[in-house]
């Protein structure tokens, strides 16, 4: 399978015309299955977080049920969310403008 670290989006999807929308949040939601050490490792791998930052986001997910792990344009946010889902972390995109 493609390396999730470098994977962006499915090839056909990348060609989809995306509307020039404002900033989006990538939000990771809690689940009772994935180990804390696994979530920390995935955050470090996908976002390049250091240990402390990855652990902070993991604890937010664990204790608050969700953590905003990235903000930016939709196309890149979708790519991050896709990669997180390849690692079986439940992630959703939310528009910053909607809040």
């Amino acid at each position: 399978m493609p390396d999730p670290k470098t994977h962006t989006l499915p090839a056909k999807a990348a060609a989809t015309e995306l509307k020039p929308e404002g900033p989006w949040r990538v939000v990771v939601l809690n689940d009772p299955v994935n180990l804390m050490s696994y979530v920390v490792m995935v955050f470090r791998k996908v976002f390049g977080f250091d240990e402390a930052r990855a652990r902070k986001h993991m604890l937010e997910v664990h204790e608050l049920g969700r953590s905003v792990v990235w903000r930016g344009h939709r196309e890149k946010a979708e790519a991050y969310a896709f990669t997180l889902q390849q690692w079986h972390l439940t992630s959703v995109l939310e528009s910053d403008e909607a809040s």
């Binding site: 399978m1 493609p2 999730p4 499915p10 056909k12 999807a13 989809t16 989006w24 990538v26 689940d31 009772p32 299955v33 994935n34 180990l35 050490s37 696994y38 490792m41 939709r74 946010a77 979708e78 969310a81 896709f82 997180l84 889902q85 390849q86 690692w87 079986h88 439940t90 992630s91 959703v92 995109l93 939310e94 528009s95």
Partner: protein, 156 residues
């Protein structure tokens, strides 16, 4: 000269682990049919959603194939499994996929709190659920081990 590849070998008890691997093998068809996580973005187009889902399923199938391959060969003869830079990440992803599927398909009777803590007397469960729960814990243990070895540079 290419340096020798670092890898980790683990010797497992065939008598204990074989029944748990059978649980995984028995779950493969259901796992292949299980829907992936839904598309993460609101208002996305159906074609895009379908491609998203297909890619996730393809990746998951590949990862589970790697996991099953680890439990073929040397494992079936002497209980030995090996982790290296090629199979470590697909393996830990597959562990998550299988554990999520176990939760949905075999462990519905077990609360999320118990799953999260792992604190339960498995003897109180019926045999099928008991095996699924032990398999769930077994995969978490191996996953933790491999993550530690990736992070300390033993695998790579």
């Amino acid at each position: 000269m290419k340096p020798p590849e670092r890898r980790v070998e683990v010797i497992l008890s065939l008598a204990v682990v074989n029944p748990l691997v059978d649980v995984i093998r028995g779950l493969v068809t259901e796992l292949r049919e299980a829907p992936p996580l839904p598309h993460a973005a609101p208002e996305s187009e159906p074609d895009f959603n379908a491609i998203w889902a297909d890619e996730l399923v393809t990746g998951r199938d590949c990862d589970v194939g790697v996991l099953l391959a680890i439990f073929d060969g040397d494992f079936s003869l002497e209980g030995r499994v090996c982790f290296d830079s090629e199979n470590a990440e697909p393996f830990i992803r597959a562990c998550s996929a299988v554990r999520l599927c176990l939760r949905d398909r075999r462990l519905a009777a077990v609360t999320d709190e118990v799953l999260e803590s792992g604190d339960m007397d498995a003897a109180k469960l019926d045999v099928r659920t008991q095996k699924a729960f032990l398999c769930y814990l077994f995969l978490a243990t191996l996953q933790e081990l491999v993550i530690q070895r990736i992070e300390d540079g033993t695998i790579g």
